[in-house]
């Protein structure tokens, strides 16, 4: 007791010395922290995780995904595909308003999609909307998309903030990206890049009243410091990337850790255009030699789960049924011998420092596992941007990657595993089966049939092993226990902060 009082006293003295208030923040503002800041404000151009999370609070797409990845209304209250699947009609919410007070109408929707499709914009999501042939606006509350071919995944692609509806007037003024006028739950009052964002509630939001009056986001680059700031109640809510820090959260009495498996996947990308990965047997040997669970346990403290190519909960199959998901070193050695490489070979694996935080550890575990079948791996860690450059050029033997997931497998994988995929030069592998399975999955609208198509796709992909899928990790948020109403989702969206309250 004496000891405790002493500690308390010294704490208070220290607080007084440092001039710090130990009381919590004002009730109505949510104090939030993350280690990486948004990189820009144009919803059509940003793809960085933090940018999307910020913009989702300000802008709205036509539709949204709920926590189980089902499509729910956002700006549109209803939608319908025509019988032939080539016409998609949306009815807009008459209450939807931009933060400058003007109503969201069909002309804004048309202008937004035309902006995305315009090559001058440089919108990465354009690739998902190429089937849009024309857009009609019969009245202010109705939008009709005419498609050149049936495209079931387009609806999911439209739920992304990269397909946000922005005011036609702002597009004309050329102010998207410098001025933020969305229709979402919060307005951006201030952005000091790499330091902080100040958001205030949008009183006109069609979704109703928000639970807090505002959100202040601080950029605290060191996640250990974020945890420290949460201990002292300076921060109510935080986004965490590093499993090493996240696993410390439950040890704090006042803090709660939310975690949910994400759609993004950790993968060892082989480069099948480089010898000897050109050989199916070599790729399969690598797949058999890797113990995915051990990679997960050692590199990420077991924080995640082993996955096949499909990470979408509704479509994912049992990974233990996939090719060589149970480690089999003997089989791997046999395959190597059959490929004429009984003595193994040398290769370089690249990884990005800190992206994901587990990259270097994953590479090391894989290095030791592959050593058992004679593969000598040289690990080369690089700064993220240098890595991205090499990755986009396909300039690697093998790459440790954390690739983003999407709520639809076609949108997620057509870039790699179709003949016309824009990232074929990264994947460097395609066969007729993969391509036709993807095309079937794109056109099919019946959920059960789609599931079967993609299950076959997954099985085949694991068998031909151009990449070795490892695991999906968790997305982590930490919060004070007096924060209520946050719903973590596999997409990582923080949209439910709109209904969060401080008790």
């Amino acid at each position: 007791m004496v000891h405790l009082t002493g500690r308390l006293l010294s704490g208070i003295t220290l607080a007084a010395m440092l001039g710090i208030a130990t009381v919590s923040a004002q009730a109505a503002t949510l104090h939030m922290a993350w280690s990486q800041d948004a990189t820009g404000l144009d919803p059509h151009k940003q793809t960085a995780f933090s940018s999307l999370r910020l913009l989702e609070l300000i802008y709205e797409p036509l539709v949204r995904l709920d926590a189980s990845l089902q499509i729910i209304p956002a700006i549109a209250t209803s939608w319908e595909f025509s019988k032939d699947g080539k016409e998609l009609t949306f009815k807009l919410d008459p209450k939807a308003k931009f933060q400058d007070g003007t109503a969201v109408n069909s002309a804004d929707v048309k202008a937004s999609f035309e902006r995305i499709l315009d090559e001058k914009t440089g919108a990465a999501a354009r690739a998902n909307f190429l089937s849009i042939a024309s857009i009609d606006t019969p009245d202010a509350a109705t939008v009709v998309f005419h498609l050149s071919q049936p495209d079931a995944p387009i609806l999911t692609a439209m739920s992304d903030v990269n397909a946000a509806i922005v005011p036609a007037a702002e597009i004309k003024a050329g102010s998207i990206g410098t001025k933020t006028v969305g229709s979402g739950p919060f307005k951006l009052d201030k952005w000091d890049p790499n330091a902080k964002e100040v958001l205030s509630a949008n009183k006109d939001w069609a979704g109703g009243a928000t639970g807090v009056d505002g959100i202040e986001i601080s950029v605290l680059p060191d996640e250990a410091a974020i945890l420290a700031a949460m201990r002292t109640k300076q921060i109510d809510f935080a986004l965490l990337n590093d499993p090493l820090v996240a696993t410390l959260v439950p040890k704090e009495a006042n803090l709660q850790l939310n975690r949910v498996p994400v759609l993004a996947y950790n993968v060892l990308q082989l480069n099948p255009s480089r010898k000897p990965m050109t050989e199916l047997k070599v790729r399969q040997a690598i797949s058999c030699a890797i113990d995915r669970q051990e990679v997960l346990d050692t590199a990420a403290l077991g924080e995640g789960k082993v996955t096949g190519p499909l990470t979408i909960p509704a479509l994912a199959t049992d990974p233990s049924q996939l090719f060589c998901y149970k480690r089999d070193v003997e089989k791997a050695k046999k395959l190597m011998a059959e490929a004429g490489l009984a003595d193994g070979f040398s290769a370089t694996v690249i990884g990005a420092t800190g992206e994901p935080p587990t990259a270097a550890a994953e590479a090391q575990v894989i290095q030791s596992q592959l050593a058992e079948i004679g593969v000598k791996l040289d690990i080369k860690m690089m700064e993220l941007n240098v890595y991205v450059d090499a990755w986009l050029k396909g300039d690697f033997d093998m790459a440790i990657a954390l690739n983003g997931g999407r709520a639809d497998p076609y949108t997620m994988y057509n870039r790699y595993w179709t003949k016309a995929g824009n990232l074929q030069k990264v994947a460097n592998y395609i066969d007729d089966t993969l391509d036709s399975q993807m095309q079937q999955g794109r056109a099919e609208t019946d959920p059960a049939k789609r599931k079967a198509i993609f299950a076959a796709f997954e099985k085949h992909l694991a068998e031909v092993s151009p990449w070795i899928w490892l695991y999906t990790s968790y997305s982590y948020t930490a919060q004070q226990k007096n924060i209520a109403g946050f719903v973590p989702t596999p997409t990582g969206t923080l949209f439910s902060l709109s209904k969060v309250t401080i008790q």
Binding site: A15, L18, A229, Q234, N385
Partner: protein, 319 residues
């Protein structure tokens, strides 16, 4: 005076060299503003989309055109626009600089207040246990990386005492001095600790050197008190290496203390440059490196001038 003018005349030449170096270096690193913004999604862009973004970022021209444009702008006082901040580079730098300057000054004060007395004490107790103690602490100080010390301080305060200076929102000195100091004191201690250790070691060895000089022996034999020998006769001469060291360290600190700013989430110059490099904000990287180089040259000049003040025998610029 002549010397000062001659030194100032070399500034533009050095800065020109630095400008070329930083301009070329940042462009030699793979990746550009487009991959920095879009990451791997940049692979989904069509060539036309890429060209349009390159024009937006101003990286569509050959490098010598870009360089010429940049230098031309600087001569008119225009350092370019930061693509991250959407504001003039110089504005962004000048907004961050006061914090970095304050942090550097505070760390130097801590270093000198702790290091000088410790060094003198160790020198005057040469080879005694207390000297050994000082040397061991100094060795630990020099070899502890600032991120270890910084995290240790943060952890101990937050986990042990439940307190921590407000992080995230930084209060400038002139707006809220008390809050400002509460936010800067821990980073300054973190930086000052290693700095103080270096000062201690240099001060000790310089003092030992001077104490064995003839003139000190003369002073002693003339009956000067021990205190007067140390403070009046020996110290001024022992200061020269300390000034050199402090000048160099201070110059470095003006370039921003990246790790400490990162840990304590201080919006200083170091973190800004790091973020600018990671986001390939070329104009901001170039502008801030020039700014840092300029500061370094000024500090060096001041150090040289301090020599003259400390030792009348030194005449700058004379052979």
């Amino acid at each position: 005076m002549n010397y000062l003018l001659r030194r100032l005349a070399t500034f533009p030449l050095v800065l020109l060299g630095v400008s070329i170096l930083v301009f070329v270096a940042i462009r030699m690193v793979p990746g550009d503003s487009i991959t920095a913004m879009l990451g791997t999604e940049a692979g989904l862009l069509t060539p036309a989309q890429r060209d349009s973004l390159a024009a937006y970022f101003g990286i569509d021209q050959p490098w010598f055109v870009q360089y010429w444009r940049w230098i031309g702008g600087i001569l008119h006082g225009n350092f370019g626009i930061s693509v991250t901040y959407g504001r003039p580079v110089l504005d962004v730098i000048l907004e961050r600089f006061p914090l970095t300057l304050e942090l550097a000054v505070l760390s130097m004060i801590i270093a000198l207040l702790v290091g000088m007395p410790a060094g003198i004490y160790a020198a005057t107790h040469n080879e005694k246990p207390s000297d050994l103690g000082v040397r061991i602490i100094a060795m630990i100080g020099q070899s502890t990386p600032s991120f270890v010390l910084g995290l240790l301080i943060i952890y101990t305060l937050s986990a042990g005492f439940g307190v921590l200076p407000a992080m995230g929102e930084f209060a400038p000195l002139w707006q809220d001095p008390l809050r400002n100091l509460s936010q800067l004191i821990l980073p300054a201690i973190t930086l000052g600790f290693a700095f103080a250790a270096s000062v201690t070691r240099i001060a000790r060895s310089a003092m030992l050197d001077v104490l064995s000089d003839d003139y000190v022996r003369t002073a002693r034999s003339k009956g000067a008190s021990a205190r007067s020998v140390i403070w009046r006769h020996a110290l001024p001469n022992a200061l020269i290496p300390v000034v050199t060291l402090s000048g160099i360290e201070f110059g470095y600190l003006l370039g921003g203390a990246v790790i400490v700013e990162q840990i304590y989430a201080l919006p200083g110059l170091g973190r800004m440059v790091l973020d600018a490099i990671l986001q390939r904000d070329y104009a901001l990287v170039q502008g801030s490196v020039l700014f840092i180089a300029f500061n370094f040259m000024i500090v060096n000049l001041l150090v040289d001038l301090a020599y003259v003040a400390l030792d009348p025998r030194i005449r700058l610029g004379e052979q």
